[in-house]
Amino acid sequence: MDIELQKVSYSYAKGTPFEKAALFGVDLMIESGKYHAIIGHTGSGKSTVLQHLNALLKPSEGIVKIGDEMIEAGKKNKKLRQVRQHIGIVFQFPEHQLFEETVLKDIAFGPMNFGVSEEEAYARAHEVIKTVGLDDSILQKSPFDLSGGQMRRVAIAGVLAMKPDVIVLDEPTAGLDPRGRHNIMELFSKLQKDHNLTMILVTHSMEDAARYADDLTIMHDGKSVLRGMPREIFKDVDKLAQYRLKVPHVVAFQMRLEQRLGSKLAKLCLTEEDLVDEIARAAKKVREES
């Protein structure tokens, strides 16, 4: 399912003296089956865009196309529920949405709201709890007795149980320790590849965007200012600096090294593994030459 934003503008508290414009003519194209990242610093409008991806907000101007559905400024659309069924959002600190007596019921809550039978929803709960790397026995526990990391996983399981075609991630690793962060990001990456899902990561982490995304959109001051493949976008340090963004640490390191060497490596590397390989190759070449 493709998602497209065409010239979308949005203002909070529209029509009151407290009106505050957040988006200005944003264009965004999310192609099906790819891993996208939307990057910007706090206040760039990325969370407002996120809420348009699932019709939680309606544009003040412009059009949002979600699959075949059109959400337009000033027009009612009665199929919002169906739209939402296909798009799961993992909000920042998703554990804050847990409320049921047991993990099982909480995970089944989303699917059952969308008309899935209890039996089927419970079956899905047993399935997704394994996907997020937790033990089946946890299903009978109260979500409030779990550790922070476990709660996060349960909340994610609740979104996965809806079997969405598109998953939107809003800083899914905020507040986790390094191991937790790594595990969660790897989990989503694997899910995306295994099920050919569309993944949309909304983040300020350049590292995660560089490592996982096929496609990047940079937001700045309520506008979509840059779009392209990570390798292209991260080439231009000065341009990113305009948007108060830095290149990922790996890229910065590679540039520093290239400056010292006085020559460029064969390609721009987006992960540490890549860069290590590239350095090894370059070093080997130097050894052979001398």
């Binding site: 009151t16 939402r84 804050h96 949405q97």
Partner: protein, 267 residues
């Protein structure tokens, strides 16, 4: 949804009224509420309206905000107006269509009552629009201070109120977030049948309570670490300053009340 709430929201400024001491404003508004009841004929009601608009002009608050403040009481106002129009008798009969019997006195009383509503709502709105909630709290705390003698925990109540005010925006924000998260899971309090909406309240309230308790716990810890041990031996950073402006305002109100009393109809 929440962001549309405008009634009584503080609008910063530096007008005469903004600069007044919150204690003076509180006393002024409470006294004014009593003064309003002195008026009972056309000249005195006109005087009330004139004074109210004079205060509005002094406060430099846009009429938009005041009209907005009227909305919640509009129905009540219209209702009392109609009750008077239809049921208060006296004076010339204006319309007589059987049960629709409207008399002069009824219309007059209806208009008086509406004016009373109007000036009261405007005056209290001006108070909240020109005074930050925390200043109102400070003002109330100082005004109520004598009650400490009869063991009313004035300081604690004021602190509770200021913390509540401080956390309203935070909790509103939180409510919005949780609501959106549950909407994304197919449970929506803002649309659907009444039954569906009621069902969607629990998934909203429980997380909200859990988070509010967590916040309260964190806040209590932070306050303890920063040495909070109740009101005993505390100094105040927020100082209230009574100026001549405040004395003048209250004196004028007294004069106005005397004038109103002089011009009111006595039977």
């Amino acid at each position: 949804m929440m962001e549309k709430m405008i009634f009584g929201r503080f609008i910063p400024g530096d007008s005469f009224v903004h600069k007044m001491d919150p204690r003076a404003k509180l006393v002024f508004v409470f006294a004014f509420i009593l003064v309003v009841f002195i008026a009972n004929n056309i000249p005195t009601y006109i005087a009330l309206v004139v004074v109210t608009f004079f205060v509005i002009a002094l406060s430099r608050i846009r009429l938009y905000f005041l009209i907005n403040g009227l909305k919640p009481v509009m129905i009540l106002m219209v209702f009392t107006f109609l009750i008077h129009v239809f049921f208060t008798k006296g004076g010339t009969v204006l319309i007589d269509w059987g049960i629709f019997n409207i008399q002069e006195e009824g219309v007059k009383q209806g208009i008086f009552i509406s004016i009373r509503f109007l000036v009261l709502v405007f005056m209290t709105s001006i108070l909240t629009l020109t005074t930050s909630p925390i200043s109102i709290t400070d003002g109330l705390e100082t005004l109520l201070n004598p009650l400490k003698k009869i063991k009313v925990p004035v300081h604690e109540l004021a602190l509770m109120m200021s913390i509540a005010l401080r956390f309203i925006p935070t909790l509103m924000d939180e409510t919005d977030k949780i609501m959106k998260a549950q909407m994304a899971r197919g449970s929506d309090v803002t649309s659907g049948t009444i039954k569906e909406r009621l069902k969607a309240v629990v998934p909203l309230l429980i997380p909200l309570f859990v988070s509010a308790f967590k916040r309260a716990e964190d806040l209590a810890t932070a306050m303890e670490v920063r040495g909070y041990r109740g009101g005993e031996g505390r100094t105040r950073y927020r100082q209230l300053k009574w100026s001549m402006r405040d004395t003048y305002a209250l004196l004028l109100l007294v004069l106005f009340a005397v004038g109103l009393y002089y011009f009111r109809t006595t039977k």
